[in-house]
């Protein structure tokens, strides 16, 4: 069985690359790498959190963008409300203090995860995939038809973001804040996957019925995994909202969910930092193709097909068709 075994050496290399990127970018006179790097790290957080459900627990979730968007809109709405009512000290605090708004975004997304997960986990396999997709679409349409927050066009965040009172809007500062969150996510994931909870998830992935007859209430473990994953997606969404200073329902579209899933498989399922590698590979390829041709979709599509078939059974085999 091929598996991406998270080695300590690999982790060290990844962390080193994250930490050194801004320096390298400056040395090579490519300062905009910091911006695209920030985006890769943020998407990496989203994909790693998706991997908890798809890779570790073996549930094919096709609705991760909903949580990404829910987190983004939480941050966005807080910021808009704070801007609308400058006299409210409380709103100012919530809207511009990341130490408040980010956990709040993660919590909101996590609650959505609990709700959607409770319903979706009544099924498995294909139906699970379709139901998570449909729930994400539902949330997407709700936000598209909410003109208060821009509807389809989205809203701009007006507040300058602070972390523990310090301004973090400088791109380099923000990069390192995001990097810290990402490294935290990776380390947290590594802790989780070897813990008792993680072992039960791995057991569910391999044989949920057997796990149930060992006395585990597998629904509860999977639900918590789903909610944690949603919260991670929400955190990434809030970070993205602050990075772009803009949120829109596009964050929740099913294409976004599809891209997350692609990055997840690309990077390797059931790993700790594979999601980051997948995000980096996908985003760099996407931007490169886009800069070369208007028909980048064709090139990207062919690339994906090659990837799927060059990996016969590959990393995705861990997620065999199971009910």
């Amino acid at each position: 069985m091929i598996r991406l075994i998270p080695s300590t050496v690999g982790l060290a290399l990844v962390i080193a690359a994250i930490v050194l990127l801004p320096g390298v970018a400056t040395a090579l006179h490519q300062p905009f790498w910091i911006s695209i790097g920030t985006r890769i790290l943020i998407v990496g957080i989203a994909v790693i959190s998706l991997d908890l459900v798809v890779g570790h627990a073996g549930l094919p979730s096709f609705g991760h963008a909903a949580f990404f968007g829910a987190g983004g809109f939480t941050a966005g709405i807080l910021s808009v409300q704070a801007a609308a009512d400058p006299s409210s000290a409380l709103l100012q605090l919530i809207g511009s203090e990341a130490a408040v708004s980010w956990p709040l975004a993660a919590a909101v997304a996590g609650l959505f995860g609990l709700l959607f997960g409770a319903l979706a986990l009544r099924t498995r396999g294909v139906n699970f995939l379709m139901i998570t997709l449909a729930f994400a679409q539902m949330l997407y349409f709700v936000f598209v038809s909410l003109p208060t927050y821009g509807g389809d066009e989205g809203v701009r965040l007006r507040q300058t973001q602070h972390l523990f009172g310090r301004d973090i809007s400088d791109p380099l500062v923000f990069y390192y804040v995001v990097a810290a969150m990402l490294i935290g996510t990776i380390l947290g994931m590594r802790m989780l996957m070897v813990s008792r909870f993680g072992r039960v998830l791995a057991s569910c992935r391999q044989n949920e019925r057997r796990t149930r007859f060992l006395g585990y209430r597998t629904d509860l473990y999977l639900l918590l995994a789903f909610a944690l994953s949603a919260a991670g997606g929400g955190l990434a969404g809030a970070l993205m909202a602050n990075h772009l200073r803009y949120v829109s329902p596009q964050m929740m579209s099913w294409f976004q969910s599809g891209e997350f899933l692609i990055m997840n498989v690309l990077g390797g399922l059931a790993s700790s930092y594979g999601g980051l590698l997948g995000a980096a590979a996908f985003i760099v390829l996407h931007e490169t193709f886009l800069s070369f041709t208007e028909y980048w979709e064709v090139v990207l599509g062919i690339g994906l097909l090659v990837f799927v078939f060059a990996n016969p059974g590959g990393l995705a085999r861990l997620l065999a068709d199971r009910r």
């Binding site: 006179h29 905009f32 038809s145 066009e153 490169t288 800069s291």
Partner: protein
């Protein structure tokens, strides 16, 4: 130095090459960043705009206003994330300080404030979002097409000009749709029978058309951009509803009327420029555009062409030195160029003050349905929020 049509940026591989290149050109041409939407289904407007912009530069042999320009075109794929990366790259790596080309509001909202914060000059060559007008205006932001609510206002003027007593509105439920409807209702003198809101990118309008049939309005105000409008017109045409004028402002282009055919015959559009507008600049533009691209330019193409000429006038005035932003601003505001629209001037919030024309659709000699200029409906019309703008 000429124009690189779509300049490939292998951002991650070409670092060393790029450094070499920037050293080699001590006497560099003025770089202009054209961030626009060329791919995806939404790419048609951006392509029109880009083609016309490039046409303007080609006329002068790679110069605008006599100054050599390096036009860097980048496709944002209608994705704010991509747009942000392109903007950062152009700002930081290419050192560009002059931007234009953005078509869609989501891209505008995602990157324009950052570009302005970085001290760049941005010329919006499509609808300027209301959010960046009035009290949120910015000295470095210009609109070369029209202010945010002009399409709705001009549609109302067209409906008034045709003495419409009562009508219904149909718009998608999102910010632009509601803004345009608001602008329309402000200007319309008759009675609104009912407002219909539809889902964005809705494709079936049977239920809405039955409602329209029931109310028998004299006209319909529709703001249904892109495929939505085509679907609506085709389906309305099949209903037992007679000839009802559809006031569509700028959403129904020449290409759309040609595509939709007979179902588009009742469209009453409005625009600050039409291909049959009779002035020398316009005649020259239409002829050259047809010659170069074998199609009739749309108003979006005209906007791109005028934007290029506007930039050219500013470059001529500053002799290609755009390091002094105050001087560049002053030169742009003066707007000393021959606009295809005839007259062109900026209002206080730096959006155009311009005339608007109504168009009606009829069959031309080849059997194609084409919009024709049917007279002026607004004169020297500018942003209603202009006086709230304080720099």
């Amino acid at each position: 130095m000429g124009i690189s049509a779509v300049k490939p940026h292998l951002a991650f591989l070409s670092a060393a090459l790029a450094i070499g290149a920037s050293v080699a050109h001590a006497q560099s041409p003025v770089k202009i960043g054209l961030i626009t939407t060329l791919s995806t289904a939404g790419g048609a407007l951006g392509q029109d705009m880009r083609d016309a912009f490039q046409l303007a530069a080609k006329e002068e042999g790679g110069k605008l206003g006599g100054v050599p320009v390096d036009l860097m075109v980048a496709d944002d794929g209608l994705n704010p994330n991509t747009a942000k990366d392109i903007a950062e790259r152009m700002l930081q790596h290419d050192g560009i300080r002059l931007f234009t080309g953005i078509i869609y509001t989501n891209v505008t909202l995602a990157i324009v404030p950052d570009l302005l914060r970085a001290g760049a000059v941005v010329i919006q060559n499509n609808t300027g979002p209301v959010e960046l007008d009035g009290k949120n205006c910015n000295p470095n932001l210009f609109g070369s097409a029209w202010h945010g609510e002009a399409p709705g206002e001009s549609a109302a003027a067209a409906a008034n000009a045709r003495n419409t007593k009562q009508l219904m509105t149909i718009v998608p439920n999102y910010t632009s749709g509601l803004e345009q409807r608001g602008a329309f209702k402000r200007g319309f003198k008759g009675q609104i029978l009912d407002d219909i809101l539809v889902k964005l990118n809705q494709t079936d309008y049977a239920a809405e058309i039955s409602q329209i049939k029931l109310r028998r309005p004299e006209g319909i105000y529709m703001f249904l951009p892109g495929g939505m409008g085509i679907s609506f017109m085709r389906q309305l045409h099949q209903a037992d509803i007679g000839d009802i004028p559809m006031y569509a402002a700028t959403t129904v282009s020449e290409q759309v009327t040609a595509t939709v055919g007979e179902a588009a015959r009742n469209v009453v559009g409005s625009a600050p420029w039409t291909p049959d507008l009779d002035n020398p600049a316009s005649r020259k533009f239409v002829a050259e555009f047809r010659e170069a691209y074998k199609r009739t330019p749309t108003v979006y193409a005209a906007n791109g062409y005028d934007t290029a000429k506007l930039i050219g006038s500013a470059l001529a005035a500053t002799r290609g030195d755009i390091s002094n932003i105050a001087a560049v601003r002053k030169a742009i505001l003066a707007a000393k160029f021959d606009s295809v629209r005839g007259k062109f001037a900026f209002g206080a919030s730096q959006y155009p003050v311009e005339d608007w024309y109504m168009t009606t659709v009829s069959k031309d000699a080849s059997g194609t349905y084409v919009p024709h200029n049917a007279g002026k409906v607004l004169t020297a019309h500018g942003s209603p929020y202009a006086d709230q703008c304080k720099f």
